[in-house]
Amino acid sequence: MEKAFFDQDNINDSLDRVDGRLKVTGKATYAAEYQLPNIAHAVLVTSTIAKGLITALDSKQAERAPGILAVISHVNSPGVPAYGSSPAMPERATLGTPLRVFHDNLVYFSGQPVAVVVADTLQRAKYAASLVKVQYEKEPHQTDLEANISRAALPANVQRDKNSRYHDYDRGNPEALNTAAVKIEATYKIPTEHHNPLEPHALIAHWEAPDKLTLYDKTQVIKGTQGNLARAFKLPIENVKVQAKFIGGAFGSGIRVWPHVMAATLAAKKVQRPVKLALPRELMFNSVGSRPETIQKLSIGATKDGRLTAITHEAIAHTSTYEEHTERTVLATRVLYACPNVRTRYRLVNLDVNTPTWMRGPGEVTGVYALESAIDELAYALRIDPLELRLRNHADSDPEKNLPWSSKSLKECYAKGAEHFGWHKRTLEPRSMRQGQFLVGYGMASSMFGVHRNNAKARAVLQADGKVIVQSATSDIGPGTGTAMTQIAADTLNISPALIRFDLGESTLPDAPGQTGSTTVSSVGSAVKVACEALKQKLLQLAVTSPHSTLYNANPADLSVADGRIFKTQNPAVSITYTEILKQNNLPQLEVTEESKPGAEWQKYSMSAFGAHFVEVHVNPITGEVRVKRVVTCAGVGKVINLKTARSQSIGGIVGGIGMALTEESVMDHRFGRYVTADFANYHVPVHADVPQIDAFFIDEHDPHVNPVGAKGLGEIAIVGVSAAIANAVFHATGKRIRNLPITPDKLI
């Protein structure tokens, strides 16, 4: 890692992960690993048809199997109070109704839980689950997006909300496309992808009393899960506790409460024991959402010297029949380039599948893949270097909102990335670079992800021994949240990070939003910062007001703080430590809780992170195999709290992007409405051999507007644009433009 591009004043900028040791020594406890007495094991029985009715559910044989405690289904579910009583004549749920687990006999998608079998051991539960016989009355199902494209419609939830950002958007005169000097038009497709974090989803549901529920769950949204279950079971919120201290990756699959969580909770209610349910890998393809399959049509017009005159972007994605999942697919197109005339359209098609959800870089990943591929196509049509074309159309301010950027270093990202990559060595023509027998391709793409921020609270407690406990109900799906928060707290309080303990992953802690949309540092980090700042102010106040203090009556403006010690700036020998202040005031500890919220700055600025990826691929001209040989990525994401974990985030995002570009695809057999690639032998996530040298750089970006921490968030932007950069490199190598991902060898021969 080169320090030259990163000269922040933060002394802790590469603090080791505070929980690293626990993780590598196996001491970190994940959801399924809590040892509760008398635990029972649950295994789901899932539907084998995509649409229809359960006409009979025969569990007699299963119930007679050894160790079986219960088989629970719509026939005997203890019921979820919020669902209401089970209807005599079941009706299909109206759009916007989360799947009502074991509520009625309706089947909405293949893989839907239709029963859960609970036994004293996992093996016994698994075996009995295979004995449950379910009969269905099939109805014709629709699972094929392309075959149903005529049903594409503006989402109903958008139609109802006049402030929605997904309405049809026209800026200037998009018809200018027709008169553009140069024009390209292309359709890009991405398949359904599944998050597939290494740790499959799992939970333990425990009713500690008839009205007290505790969940040990793999969730990215602790408070959201708590609220959701409290509402579902009509319990006071404080009667539901949710714990998620360690999470083995999620990428968005843990953003909401999924049916299997309800199934385990109902099972625990029925058997009155803690119930553990861990999804096997194959159910990860039906249970926790997916990136929606999306078809996008891009048209771009430009002048001969490469000024964009018009862009139109139309995206059609799938959703389920009972819920609408909408995402920001077309939004980046409105702002990434300075183009006077822009049209975007966003449509959904309801299919008989489970509801898709956010997956790393949601929306932007999909949209920017299409946009940045189309820009590349335009560059070839114009015979202009793709990087130069992007520079010529740089958006100096937000062209949609007509606001200045709070900060933007995209040009610097282009420059640094290109320099480190050696972009100048690229020759213009496709198939013009070779190394031995291999075709060599250079490709690049821009990336962007809007800055988001939510209300968040944090508590900071100074203890008599000088340690500070900082708490917030956030979670850590892998980015190193605990580490970043420790650093923010240590920096704010001017003490060693070794004195900080950051607690997360419990619903009893102060409110935090879910770990979504790269908002954790900006939201929770801000709360930690203001809480620690408030604690420090309290200490300063006490230092100058308590009569025994060496700093009694000093002017706070004349004081400085370092190493947990407050001293006179002019005469550092006159000082008092934090712990001495507690002692002098007979305080066992000092505690503050603060909330941090976005404010008026959001009306004054447009806020986004930007970056650029540069990729070299080698393609075997005979067999069409693509190897990514190296990647250079550079991003401007405001303040980087921890260089090491930031770099890990960037590398992880690139790996995800390699998967999206080259290997990952969930294929459905539409005759059955079932995924056929539902295991790790057939759903190909990149392995080490697919991942080359990745160099990640950050621009030292000072942004006083985004939030008190000055950080924009990095998790999502790390993956946005990667698949376009790779597809563009493949075109440069081969002269073949593959517009449907993933780019597997069969598409290149």
């Binding site: 084998t48 050894p66 293949s110 093996q123 698994k126 075996y127 295979s130 096997p280 194959e282 031995g436 027998q437 291999f438 080698h618 075997n620 005979i622 067999t623 069409g624 195999e625 190897r627 080259l662 290997t663 294929v667 057999d669 005759r671 059955f672 079932r674 056929v676 690639t677 539902a678 295991d679 032998a681 057939n682 190909h684 990149p686 392995v687 080490h688 051999a689 697919d690 597997t744 060898p745 069969d746 021969i749």
Partner: protein, 331 residues
């Protein structure tokens, strides 16, 4: 997975006796394929005979100056055995192209050729599959068949055999030594696996009550000129879309003998003696290699999603032969 009873055999005879008393029992060696299939209820044996401790765990030279690979030697120990590395590098390459290091440490030489197909529908008990449930139909025929066979298929099954090791063993003319109630016999490797025909549920000519004791490699190992080329959807740890085991005996630039076996294209490793004969006496060059590729793929038929395999296989053959002839660097 169902409950099962378990017996550990220490002698081949004991394993055979146990099998005779429980004909539905399954032998288990490394367990890397069998247990996976048990977990998804594709295999539901009620009794397992663990053969891992049978004294078939050596690699020894044979009297005919060949090599005998014990059935219970792991794939890893086989691939890294000095005599395999030096005399049968084609086999070592094929083994190392398969699975992952962890799996190869468990997988055995007897179990590897007996691993079952990776056809999606074979694994999904909610769909019809003649191999899993004879007579139920073949879901792949008109379904998603990107990984399926293009040669030797039948209307009953279009699955491919997934083993890499078996492709090299076929090219090398290995022999399978088996022992059963009727005594010992030897099955030439090219005749070990079967085409699906109307009994796709039967993968091999090994009888269910027989045990593989060893695999014999003949003298000739083509150590000088060989290549195993495996094309797949990612760089490592994926089954072959198409693979080629190529071995040449060259005199200068003239081919004296050629062996070519294909993986990922049929229900068994695919070899065609007339194609190999066609190369004898010819010059090693891309044109001749392309011609032999045509012969090998003669009659190939795609089923929609796997049509690409016909062209991919031809290209892979040319490239593998070029590599074997050291006319192309290996990526």
């Amino acid at each position: 997975m169902n409950s099962f009873t378990y017996f550990r055999a220490h002698e081949v005879a004991a394993a055979l006796t146990e099998k005779a008393t429980a004909p539905q029992a399954k032998f288990i060696a490394g367990g890397t394929n069998l247990t996976d299939l048990m977990k998804v209820n594709v295999e539901q044996p009620h009794h397992l005979i663990d053969i891992r401790r049978l004294p078939l765990n050596k690699i020894e030279e044979t009297e005919e100056n060949g090599l005998r690979l014990g059935a219970l030697v792991t794939n890893a120990d086989t691939a890294y055995h000095p005599l395999v590395e030096s005399r049968y590098p084609l086999l070592a390459k094929a083994i190392l192209a398969g699975a992952s290091a962890q799996l190869r440490n468990m997988a055995t030489n007897g179990g590897n050729p007996l691993q079952r197909t990776r056809c999606y529908y074979f694994y999904d008990t909610a769909t019809a599959c003649n191999k899993r449930e004879p007579g139920s139909g073949c879901s792949a025929l008109n379904g998603y068949n990107r990984i399926h066979a293009i040669l030797g298929t039948s209307e009953h099954c279009i699955a491919v055999h997934p083993s890499d090791m078996a492709v090299a063993l076929t090219a090398l003319d290995a022999k399978v030594n088996v022992t059963g109630p009727q005594g010992e016999r030897v099955i030439p490797f090219p005749e070990f696996h079967r085409l699906p025909g109307d009994t796709p549920n039967i993968d091999t000519n090994l009888s269910p009550d027989e045990i593989i004791t060893a695999i014999d490699l003949p003298t000739k190992g083509f150590a000088e000129n060989n290549a195993y080329l495996k094309l797949r959807d990612r760089t490592s740890y994926a089954f072959a879309l198409v693979s080629v085991a190529a071995a040449l005996e060259l005199e200068g630039n003239i081919i004296k003998e050629a062996r070519i076996a294909l993986g990922g294209v049929a229900h068994k490793p695919w070899r065609k003696p007339e194609a190999e004969a066609q190369l004898v006496g010819k010059e090693a060059n891309p044109e001749n290699f392309a011609q032999v590729a045509e012969t090998l793929l003669a009659g190939a038929q795609g089923f929609g999603h796997n049509n690409f395999k016909i062209e991919l296989a031809k290209r892979a053959i040319v490239r593998a032969l070029l590599q074997a002839a050291k006319m192309e660097e290996i990526s």
